[in-house]
Symmetry: C2
Subunit: 214 residues, 2 copies
Amino acid sequence: MAQSETVDRILDAAEELFAERGFSETSLRMITGRARVNLAAVNYHFGSKKSLIQAVFARFLTPFCLALEQSLDRLEAESSPHPPSLESLLKVLTQTVVAMPRHHDRSIAIYMRLQGLAYTQSQGHLREFLENEYSRTFGRFMGLLKEATPQLSAVERYWRIQFMLGATAFTMSSSEALSDILKNKLGVETAVEEIVARLVPFLTAGMQADPVRG
Amino acid sequence: MAQSETVDRILDAAEELFAERGFSETSLRMITGRARVNLAAVNYHFGSKKSLIQAVFARFLTPFCLALEQSLDRLEAESSPHPPSLESLLKVLTQTVVAMPRHHDRSIAIYMRLQGLAYTQSQGHLREFLENEYSRTFGRFMGLLKEATPQLSAVERYWRIQFMLGATAFTMSSSEALSDILKNKLGVETAVEEIVARLVPFLTAGMQADPVRG
DNA sequence: TCTGGACTCAAACGTATGTTTCAAACAAAT
DNA sequence: ATTTGTTTGAAACATACGTTTGAGTCCAGA
């Protein structure tokens, strides 16, 4: 099952179509059509549509989590003995995203959108899969986030993390469409790198706002 | 087509099911099953599934926009001759949401989740419908937002509004699930009112962060 | 050259979907 | 009581979906 040309073609097509249209709205026939492979190839190589969805995520999430772990190692070493600051954590996260090797120009936007869809579309099996596979890296980052915001109560921190997650996932999941709108309105081109550069100060300020209660 | 018992039952069931499962993942048979009406009733009363989706939105968005317009009238009158502040705008928005008449306890959470889904699920007809019907109120609010943040460049403001929208839509669209998680973890109950109370300072601080460039 | 496993292909299968049909039931007005 | 227009009901329709099948192709190793 290693590196078949067909497998990659399916993954490429599925990645794009899932990002464009969502999971349920994308049929295997659309995928195999764009990939120019036979319909049965999906079930032959992946077993089912659910497994294909998971495989799409695994292909970019596994190397990403590895890279993030290394980035966090470096950051923790640098700032030792103090815990990393909130801003440095967010910067490391976004830079690790941006630094990921990409198949083509739109790769980052696609990954971001997929990540957003993972939270929004109610695909129970996906949640479970991501939880099982990537909870360790995720948990490590959350722990560091906690150390970086000691002034927040656990409840306040919980909700603010959701706010951050929402702002990021939502914006990134529509980054291409939003960039196009902005171009039509003001004639300005925007790269993903610039969006995340604008995102970090926004999130940092939000996290450091005065809490509503102790 | 006015106020048939059947029509309301369908709208109630559709509202809940769409919020729980999304649009494509909810079949007309599920809806008519929960509403205990005949399958054909949907197409008879609404014409199509698409129109039903739009009707669900219209039922809560039309009175909401009316209420928001009035709230904005009041706010503008109060703060005249100065434009309303950013925080007052956000507060008015959230309070208008919270003050909406509700069919039952979960109504707000359901409306919020539907609003989030409207942005996330790729239902082209929905976007078009919302644009046609509610762009005036939406545009008015955006204009006031602009007056309230004169220090931001048009580009910076554009992106930060997207960040706000994302944090709100994302959090609200999963508010019930997130509240449940928090209850399991820390044993704390959370009402929608409390979430938006925490949201406003976060967004205000984010909007007022120092821009990355002039 | 032969063999066997990996892969591709066209076709079909079973099921679920949105929609349509048309007769029956109902309500209100004549 | 009869008629008229509206609403319901069970059934069927056409289509699209994920999946399976089985014959065919390819190619490395014996």
